[in-house]
Symmetry: D4
Subunit: 218 residues, 8 copies
């Protein structure tokens, strides 16, 4: 009884139960997920290595592993999709893992998600080519490593709330995401809030909360 | 012509034009605000010291100075208030300045704001005494210095999106707000996004964007 | 003769002799422990990897390896148990290793230990469900990674001295335990003292010293 | 109503109510202390500058200002003194302010305090000249800046619990107390726990909690 | 004879001799400049406070003080101007001091300088309105504080070499220019090199060296 | 369509298209390079491990792998060489990888490159033995790890612009290149600009831009 | 009795007694020095501001204040001078204060000191002009701020032991001496040891110990 | 010709030529050492992993590998031993590697070395048991990780110059040697100078230079 499963908070059918997979052994994950089986909730286990995923799915074949986001998923129920959209925007190809963690999390919570990848400011024409799709979204998630300037540029162009996710992509003075994090915290564009380095999950989850505002009552 | 006033972005009558007051001289602020006079926008100058405020208001007596938030304000028009509420919650008495910067900014953008101050986790009964008022809000801003644990506790208790503002209150290893910032970025409670240290303005502005979602179409 | 065994300090029968296992080879540990054989002390070797443990126990089968705390133990004598209790409280499942290092150390020194695991502030009802058991203890050890807010919350709820142990659990801005460490050092709840990141041993040892105050003379 | 006075926690007559003076204006302190007047508690306001102290005592002449600890005190009741002693030990003359904050706090909570100042390791004979008085104490507080080595040396010589307080004394790579803090957290002597840089108050308060163990029942 | 004036390096008439004014007293500056009087070089003293400038010019009225760049200047000779242009671009109004240090330095070395100020990415239309003037330059200096994203955006739009100057403008996690510095060092736009925080002088000097390439032989 | 190839920026035949290889899988690199096949550009993929290189060249045998610079190259066209030279200077033998990344990049862009390796300041006679070759260059790249002092010494000896590349060579307080980086940013020799730690590519690329100034019109 | 004067360590007539002046009040310094009056030792108080010096000398006019080193001195006895020399070398004019603290300390302990100031590597010919005087010394102290490269260059040129003193001179990324400190710790020239930032006293003192080796017995 | 062997500096027969082995391939080391064969110098290659050592000795069997110091050695000539002694003192068993690097380096340069290991301050009686042997030395090297307090204690007890070597032994806030480094730089005991983390070689080399002072002329 090393882990207390939190069965109180989520009540709507299908809203996922979340397990933080890092630092837990495969057998701990199996036990925790098994406790959740009786509920009607979907399940989402984050930050699972391929090896650990394969150890877990031997015992729980109902879980599927998404290699790009490194999440284990169990979709027992399909949630109703929001009308409003969440845009997930990335600077480069290497930010894909984190972006997919955000995008899939948001989808698991019933959101309509638009992916706009590899539009970093080094070739800003790529961003402008897609800016209308970004502006259409109710919430924008910007995922960027290295210097993370994309968050400021997008923040200056859209009117919707922006959630910035620094990634650990880069080398030397990128300091495993610190450079991008500081950029995003100091963004001269207002309306940008920030989550932990590589925390695609947190961004997707917060974006979902925001995107559902006004949807419930419709 | 050292400053280009950005007259394009805001179109609805009364939505404030923002000036970042720090690092600008009183005479620079006077010139920038004067350029904004012809527009229909309200005006909000952030991070103004009392001395600078008094130098500015000699030339522009229409501006009023709010000593707690250290902002200069010009309310030409009254914006329609949102039905949804933004709660501004602080851990201690010393976080007041930053909290008021957030609260007043949100009010200047037409939001209905509830202030819940001095409910830090050292005496957690104070928080529980006010938790219903916090839960009622559509967006919650948590302002805390020192170790900033309040953000995690509130984040675990509410279902609305939380914006956390670390303050520079503390000494020694508070490192002028870094301790609280790290706490908030690593919050084990999901749904918390973070802004720069002491950036009450940014929190109020983002909260306003979020709080207006679903309001426009009503 | 690379290591001088300190045979002077401990005199009561059974009080453990401690060896810091990290940075020592298996053969160095074997030699040091062998020197201790003639004394009446129990033995406790900390921070031993499974591989090194198995190399050591080949030569010293009297030692047992505890996989959760990663300690090698030799219990020659059973110490009298304290009446007063030490509570070991953790935020999450991943803090288990460090918590067990603290709990087992305290038990090796004759303390009565209560384990209360996985009650982090993200779901604070789990903490309140166990708060009476925590309040009952004479000393409380709080073990937490990520943002470490649990130390402040527990510190605000109990009247006994609290020893906080930051763990290296987390990613990104957790900075391998620095975020939790700073939280604990800046705790707005008074009565909290702190040990090194992942130093479960030090917490258990200090807690034992404190818990024995008043016990000796009874 | 910017501050909620916490009247619930302390019940025994005379046990001080604490106010954290830094970051509060003189008038805020006056208001908070005034609310506490009806209770039977003593009052202790920490980190008050001489100027602020003089502004406060104009309105509340019952408070006395201690210039060495920079605390405002109101001793309505005399608490019974403990039999057990707390030793407060400093490395240098410049650590006096922090040491007095610890010593006076402990005394305000009814503890018997022994002061042993200026016995840093640069001239270790000074420490040995006083070691018996230190060993006699039930709890030892070590206050040191610069490299803070005194905590390790004392920790290796005594069997009672040691609380180490790093001070911001030093220059260059002392980094305002970080060097001493790290020394204390990494102390090779076990049984040392640590508080925030310059946090004499916290050390005195924790030491008091520890020193009262076993005393209550006598 | 505390300072050895370096009379060997500069030989062309009028090329300025540079004195680093910070950390030198007014009388030291007077002595150093006086030694330079016999040469045919212009003189440029950087980082001089207004007070120190006024103390120096009492003795050396030939020097003029530029309040925006905080430099003392002595223009004995007029250098021939380059055909090629150096563009100095700033993000905000508050970066003016550093930008002028760069621009004036470049002009003192005979360069043709274009100033394009307050075109930060928060309102990127301001940058595009001036982009042709920036593209026309042979070397571009980008001066920006806060998150410094302007360097990346400009770097992605021009083909000439870009020298980025982080400024200490900002608060909280701007860390006195570190955030902007890291942004610039990690710029995803290639062709950007970086100088020290607030080092407008170094940027102007390097830009001049680059801008003169190919000019000498014409 | 995870990567948008930027086909707009480079127009002159043969000017290389650059791919940042780190953080991309072999199959992603294959796909990106394949898209570039139709253009007339040369191709250069940086920071490719030997394993990844061998996986890529199985599918694209036209690419050759340079083990010292860890780059994959495809030279479809030979660019005209500049008359002006770029000197690449290193402090030690271990800086070779980064130096070759700079040198080869510059050569791929059509520059005439002189390599002067292992002339660090510990044996400064080695530098003076080669100083004429260094002075002859139009642009000098200095590559150095550990304390990076070579950049300052070279910067004080030459009149051409210097680009300094800190390397991660060293241990302890070299902090993976931070020591060398700070040295270079604080260089007392003017005319030194800096790129990211280990960023040989960026230095070679910027040097090429500078070295081509004045060449185009010839 | 806040300070224990250490009268045991120094026995030879005239060898100075040291007082660390920073963080002590003028009256504390007066009391400490007064206790030392009866001994035959000279006295040296370091890091004394002009204001504090003038407060102290009102009561103790026998002390003289050296404004460049900011030390208070009392030379009761003249020590015999060493034959061997200590060279104190500085990079720039602004390092004077620290250099004089080192030089005067060494002289107070009876050493023969050669001062060679303002020979930083930006104009390395200045260093070579004085290198013979530096090589003549038995111990060399190098004092440098900014990037501190002088220590490496001197270390590579001399065969005597070198003590490097980083100074806090510089701005931005000099980080108040950290850049120079790291340079010196990572020096590729062997035979360089380092003291704290701005610790001229410590360098002079250690150099004296080294310089006296072999002198005693002659 | 990637490495220039420095054959100028060392002239006395047998004085070792040093090669820094880290970051060099086995084949590079073989080539560099081969170039040194014709000289009369001994050879010392530092920081060589066991694997690399075995690759090198296949080609150069004259080199012997010392596993504790991780150095490759070639002793062609025996240097005359100094009369004066260097003491190498360690805090713990885990500091052995670094201590041996120092001790062996000193011996290779002809010094008389005394090893005094595992006498850390946690059990200070161990230090006092050996203090006479330490006091006998002309130079003392103190090697310590974790909090490094041993340097201060030894520094306060001996009159000879002390060279402190911080080691990367420890975990958590030891920060791979930073804690010990800061302790040593801030040592309240004067006469302590410091080298890079784990730089046993540098300490041994500097100690040798100091220990030879006064010996030459005998
Ligand atoms: N206190 C503040 N913190 C962060 N950003 C601010 C603050 N005040 C204003 N801003 C932003 O700064 C912009 C104005 O900058 P400026 O043109 O320099 O006055 C506004 O559009 C805001 O987005
Ligand atoms: N100097 C101090 N350092 C750390 N914590 C303190 C200090 N002084 C008071 N406190 C804590 O701050 C709390 C009061 O905070 P406040 O309500 O802001 O006055 C008390 O309960 C103490 O636990
Ligand atoms: N500027 C200084 N930097 C470092 N240590 C110093 C300095 N001045 C004096 N000390 C040391 O501080 C000791 C005296 O400390 P105190 O007893 O506080 O005056 C002396 O023995 C010196 O070793
Ligand atoms: N372990 C070490 N730590 C610091 N410096 C070293 C070390 N080993 C060798 N060196 C220095 O490196 C120089 C040789 O560098 P290299 O020419 O790159 O082999 C020698 O002259 C030494 O000063
Ligand atoms: Mg891309
Ligand atoms: Mg309060
Ligand atoms: Mg859990
Ligand atoms: Mg003292
Ligand atoms: Mg602006
Ligand atoms: Mg070499
Ligand atoms: Mg100079
Ligand atoms: Mg040991």
């Amino acid at each position: 009884d090393f882990a207390k499963v939190d069965t109180e908070r989520k009540v709507r059918t299908g809203v996922p139960e979340i397990v933080y997979g890092e630092g837990k052994s495969a057998s701990q994950i199996v036990k925790i997920v098994t406790t959740m089986l009786q509920s009607q909730n979907n399940i989402l286990v984050t930050r699972v290595t391929p090896q650990k995923a394969s150890d877990v799915t031997k015992y729980l074949p109902e879980l599927t592993y998404d290699t790009s986001s490194k999440m284990l998923l169990w979709k027992k129920h399909t949630l109703q999709k929001t009308k409003g959209k969440i845009a997930v925007v990335t600077a480069g190809t290497s930010d894909l893992h984190v972006a997919e963690e955000a995008a899939l999390t948001a989808e698991m919570f019933g959101n309509n998600v638009t992916r706009i990848y590899d539009v970093g400011v080094a070739g800003i024409h790529r961003l402008f080519a897609r800016i209308d799709a970004i502006k259409e979204a109710r919430v924008v998630i910007v995922v960027a490593g290295m210097e993370g300037a994309l968050a400021s540029v997008v923040g200056g162009l859209v009117t919707s709330p922006v959630i910035a996710v620094p990634t650990s992509i880069g080398y030397g003075t990128s300091f495993h995401g610190i450079s991008a994090l500081l950029t995003m915290l100091n963004s001269c564009a207002t309306g940008v809030t920030v989550v932990n380095i590589d925390n695609g999950f947190g961004a997707g989850y917060s974006a979902s909360k925001i995107n559902h505002l006004g949807e419930y009552t419709n």
